[in-house]
């Protein structure tokens, strides 16, 4: 016995270590797995090199439509020529720093959430998320502090996608929380109102709501009263997603054991104190995956504003590929690849961020 264990390290056969062994163990453990490995390998060989050829080697990096047609690959020249438009829409070039600054403000308020434990962190976070919309509106729209007004019909591209998404997210969360609480309320008037609101908005497609906001609403308004088209769309997006979010949050509320409510009441807390400090923090933490799901859906739904004539990232790319000086098959494909990549970056970033949040908040609750 002792002899065997002493000899073991010396006798390690070459066939269980090294790359060859790794390949055999993981890729060809038996003939079925081996066949699948070969199939996947063949698929990769068939798709990856042509993709790289198309994306980089045959691509036209500069020039115009004719260069792109001649190159045969992706037409990055098109993205280059319209880069400013894709990011800022029709925002006047001399004012684009205001958009940059608002994006920085957004990044800053996200960064605040990553702060290590500091005193009053909760207040800092709440403050920054209340300040963010105000700062952004002042910066982007102007008309205050000596900033020139940039009307919302000049907004577009990636920036508009962010505006719609962030407004949808920031607006939907409080609406969702209030509606979820209201739905569980003991007061019939409040409960009926909340149930009606949630069921109405959840049962209708977002497109219908946007259509109502952009097409029908102006006709009901008194003559001469005009409300900004973007604002109408933002309110529609926030209400719609608020209704979805309310149900996600209600799920979290129902997961809280009754004992928590009773304990909070027993220690003399009122309704709002109990909700703010005991129930909601636990409930929201439980439903982070559901919340992020809704958030990712909001980002992707922003493309629907296209149908009411607002140019989000996808809209401005589509307008670009249909302009007569860029009409070519490779331009169309490149445009959609670019727009898809833009959305992927946003949504992937968001889901990574939510994983980080979950890990951070779930300390001591891992199962």
């Amino acid at each position: 016995m002792t002899e065997t264990s002493r000899h073991l390290p010396l006798r390690t056969p070459g066939s269980v270590l090294g790359p060859a062994a790794w390949i055999r163990r993981n890729l060809f453990p038996d003939w079925r797995q081996g066949l699948l490995t070969l199939l996947v390998l063949w698929l990769l060989i068939r798709t990856i090199p042509p993709l790289i050829d198309w994306l980089f080697i045959d691509a036209a990096w500069t020039g115009d439509r004719d260069d792109c047609v001649a190159a045969g690959g992706a037409c990055w020249a098109f993205v280059g020529a319209r880069w400013g438009q894709f990011i800022y829409g029709f925002y006047p070039p001399e004012h684009r720093w205001r958009v940059d600054l608002s994006m920085l403000a957004l990044l800053a308020s996200i960064a605040v959430l990553f702060l290590p434990r500091v005193p009053n962190k909760g207040w800092i976070i709440t403050g920054s998320f209340i300040a963010l919309p105000v700062v952004t509106v002042v910066l982007l729209h102007g008309g205050m502090l000596g900033l020139e007004v940039v009307p919302t019909d000049r907004w577009g591209g990636f920036m508009l996608t962010l505006v719609v998404a962030v407004a949808g997210m920031l607006g939907a969360l409080p609406i969702g929380i209030l509606m979820a609480l209201g739905r569980r309320s003991r007061m019939p008037a409040i409960r009926i109102f909340c149930v009606t609101f949630i069921e109405l908005f959840r049962a209708v497609p977002l497109i219908t709501i946007l259509f109502m906001a952009s097409v029908m609403l102006p006709l009901f308004m008194p003559q001469g009263f005009t409300m900004d088209k973007l604002l109408r769309a933002l309110i529609g997006v926030a209400l719609f997603n608020g209704a979805l979010m309310a149900e996600v949050i209600r799920g979290g509320l129902q997961a809280i054991p009754r004992g928590q409510f009773e304990a909070a009441t027993a220690s003399g807390m009122g309704y709002w104190k109990m909700m703010t400090f005991i129930i909601l923090p636990q409930a929201l933490r439980t439903v982070i995956p559901g919340l992020v799901n809704t958030y990712v859906a909001i980002i992707k739904d922003t493309t629907l504003v296209l149908i009411i004539g607002l140019f989000d990232l996808l809209g401005i790319v589509q307008a670009g590929i249909s302009s007569s000086n860029w009409l070519a098959p490779s331009v169309t494909t490149t445009g959609y690849v670019f727009a898809g990549f833009g959305f992927w970056v946003l949504c992937f970033g968001l889901s990574r961020y939510s994983m980080h949040l979950e890990r951070k908040l779930n300390t001591g609750q891992k199962k």
Binding site: Q85, L219, I307, G309, G320, S322, S324, N325, L327
Partner: protein
Amino acid sequence: MKLCTILTSAAALMALSGAAVSAQTLEEVRERGYLNCGVSPGVAGFSNPDDAGNWSGFDVEVCRAVAAAVLEDPDAVRYTPLSNTERFTALQSGEIDMLSRTTTRTLNRDTALGLNFAPVMFYDGQGFMVRDSMDVDSVSQLNGATVCVSAGSTTELNLADYFEANGMTYNPVRFDRADEVLAAYDANRCDVYTSDRSGLAARRLVMSDPSEHVMLPETISKEPLAPAVRHGDDQWFDIVTWTVYALIEAEEFGITQDNIDEMLASENPNITRMLGGEGSPVGEWIGLDNQWVYRAISSVGNYGEIFERHVGPDTPLQIERGMNALHTDGGLQYAMPFK
């Protein structure tokens, strides 16, 4: 589609019954300092943002011409890109002052939807595209062909009517979306692709090999595309109407963006009257100053120049003048006299 119809009809009803939209469009535009013009969100050659982010195209030039006539500045326009369903409500609710958006003039729109159409800017119609290799040069040779077409569209109805009327048969391949129709034709699933001619010209360019495809000469439907204003403001309607006429008349008189200043000194009294020369009444009659025609033409050029710049044979779209030639060249463009 049904929902859209209901929505637009309801909208039209409300626009007609309740809100009598103000008849003071001219004053409102002047007070505001810019023109609200509805355009399409991206139709090749007709309205698109250019690389610098400015709207440009055939339809956009009409907005610019009206802004130049009314506000003395062709750039004093705010463009509202509008979808198919939104365009009429936007006009009825007063969100835009005029619509210049590849819109076909029809009886229904002219009456029930409460619109007034300015003169036709572009005579479009349904055409056919085939592969050059098919060696076909007329629709009459297409008996038994496979045709790619948008499902449930007027295009599909026109196609059925035309083939039936001519005693021919065909196999339709229907798709819901325009890009699916295009992709199917490009992938050789059908012999023929049918759509409006201006649309065919643009879509030919996004096929794998544009040079393989040719358009057949026949046009089987009427799609007269015209700018529109809402009912109830005759003066504004006159201004938009006669701005379009001015562009067409300018081409007939040979007035271009470049030679307009020499034309001011022309021997022809019709030209000097139109351009607001000494003692001309054109401004007084329409309620603008005398130079309104001069400004419109010097800002955007005459009709022919606009056509050449955005959709003509030298542009990627390569659309021939055809029906859109002046009446003197055998086309349909005919301006009323400035008298």
